[in-house]
Amino acid sequence: MSIRLKIAILLLATIMVGISGCERDDICAAATPTTPLLIIRFYDADEPSEFKEPIDFAVSTALEDGTIDTTAYASDSIAIPLRTQLDLTSFNFILNISNPVDDPELTPPNTDVLNISYTRTEDYISKACGFRITYDMLNRQILPGDDNDGWIQDVIIDETSLTEQTNAHIRIFH
């Protein structure tokens, strides 16, 4: 075998090893920035620099199929998804969710409605992850809900454009 052929085979083997070391194209790595979640931080309305966790708190939202999803949170910071197919996502923020409505001993559930409106931009990520939506011109509307008793004092939007999810985008005072 000629020396040239030996060199070629060696080169071939080296490149083959290089190719096999490449990342796979069909698994979206968890660290990849995809469609960002909306991060909300809760503050004390009386002490605006202090975090305040809403007690016995849940977020409920109407889904496409007509059902309502209710998710409980026990933190002063929550991350919730926005709709990727509509320019508006409506949430019910409920305090004292586990209390019965008709028990005079306990504080009944208190629902406030938070409507988040925005514009959407489609953005290509990679072969593995496909596309994502980024949001811009975030705006909000707070309604006291059917109980006509608002527990949210104020909502401040700090980031009107939603492209990442490392910091809080919205502050809620209650």
Binding site: M1, S2, R4, L5, A8, I9, L11, L12, I15, M16, G18, I19, C22, E23, D25, D26, C28, T34, T35, L37, T61, L63, E64, D69, T71, A79, I80, P81, R83, T84, Q85, E122, D123, Y124, I125, S126, K127, A128, C129, G130, F131, R132, I133
Partner: protein, 240 residues
């Protein structure tokens, strides 16, 4: 030894055997002939043309693939061959979040160097080749998913088809292969191709998935690989 030389299938058989016992058997056989024969036998020069069989076979087996390729080479000097491939491919890349069809034509041209020391009268090749490749193609985004880490609002898969046309790419290729004469002037060959992209179109807010002639592209890598199974016919033109 002379008996073997007159028997073509046997010679081909010996050629493959010699591949397995590379090196020693080749040089041993060569020395024997040099001693036996003194008559000058002229080598045949000409054009070899044919098809890459791997592509039509894959077209039958894989519903996401259609392709064909014409291959050819022309013997320039004792060990050097001018070689080229011309083809068309249509490939649908079906990933969990994206489905894209790439469709286009390509040409590859370069040289093959025959590193094999043939026995007298044989025309087999074990070659190392270099190619420059050019591909002109388009991509059609058939469907895609908006990727979310929270699936509360369900799967958002969109099917509004989008076309990215006028795309092109160039690459350099290292080819390693062999060609064996199985009948008079009929050759079968196998080869592996290693490729490195040199230029490629930047697709506006999208990526390249498959480049006809080059093959699948991987995010973050300039390298690709391919293979071929060729069936070719040698048209002798002159001897020298």
């Amino acid at each position: 030894m002379k008996l073997h030389l007159q028997n073509k299938p046997m010679r081909t058989y010996v050629f493959f055997i010699s591949l397995l016992i590379l090196g020693t058997s080749i040089s041993f056989g060569q020395e024997q002939i040099d001693q036996d024969t003194t008559a000058v036998v002229k080598e045949r020069y000409g054009l070899r043309v044919g098809l890459d069989l791997a592509k039509p076979v894959r077209s039958l087996l894989d519903k996401n693939y259609q392709g064909f390729e014409i291959v050819g080479d022309f013997r320039l000097r004792e060990r050097y061959y001018l070689a080229a491939e011309l083809g068309n491919e249509k490939r649908t890349t079906d990933l969990p979040n994206v489905n894209v069809t790439s469709n286009g034509s390509y040409i590859k041209a370069g040289l093959n160097y025959n590193a094999y020391n043939n026995w007298l009268g044989m025309n087999n090749l074990i070659y190392v080749g270099g190619r420059a490749g050019f591909s002109s193609f388009k991509e059609t985004l058939n469907s895609y998913t908006i990727y979310t880490t929270n699936d509360l609002f369900g799967d958002d898969t969109r099917t509004d088809s989008r076309e990215f046309s006028g795309l092109s790419a160039t690459w350099l290729e290292l080819q390693l292969g062999l060609q064996a004469e199985v009948f008079n002037n009929v050759f079968i060959g196998i080869n592996v191709q290693l490729k490195s992209r040199i230029t490629e179109s930047a697709v506006d807010d999208f990526g390249l998935f498959y480049i006809p002639g080059y093959g699948k592209t991987t995010d973050g890598s300039k390298f690709g690989a391919g293979y071929g199974y060729t069936l070719t016919y040698f048209i002798p033109l002159f001897k020298k």
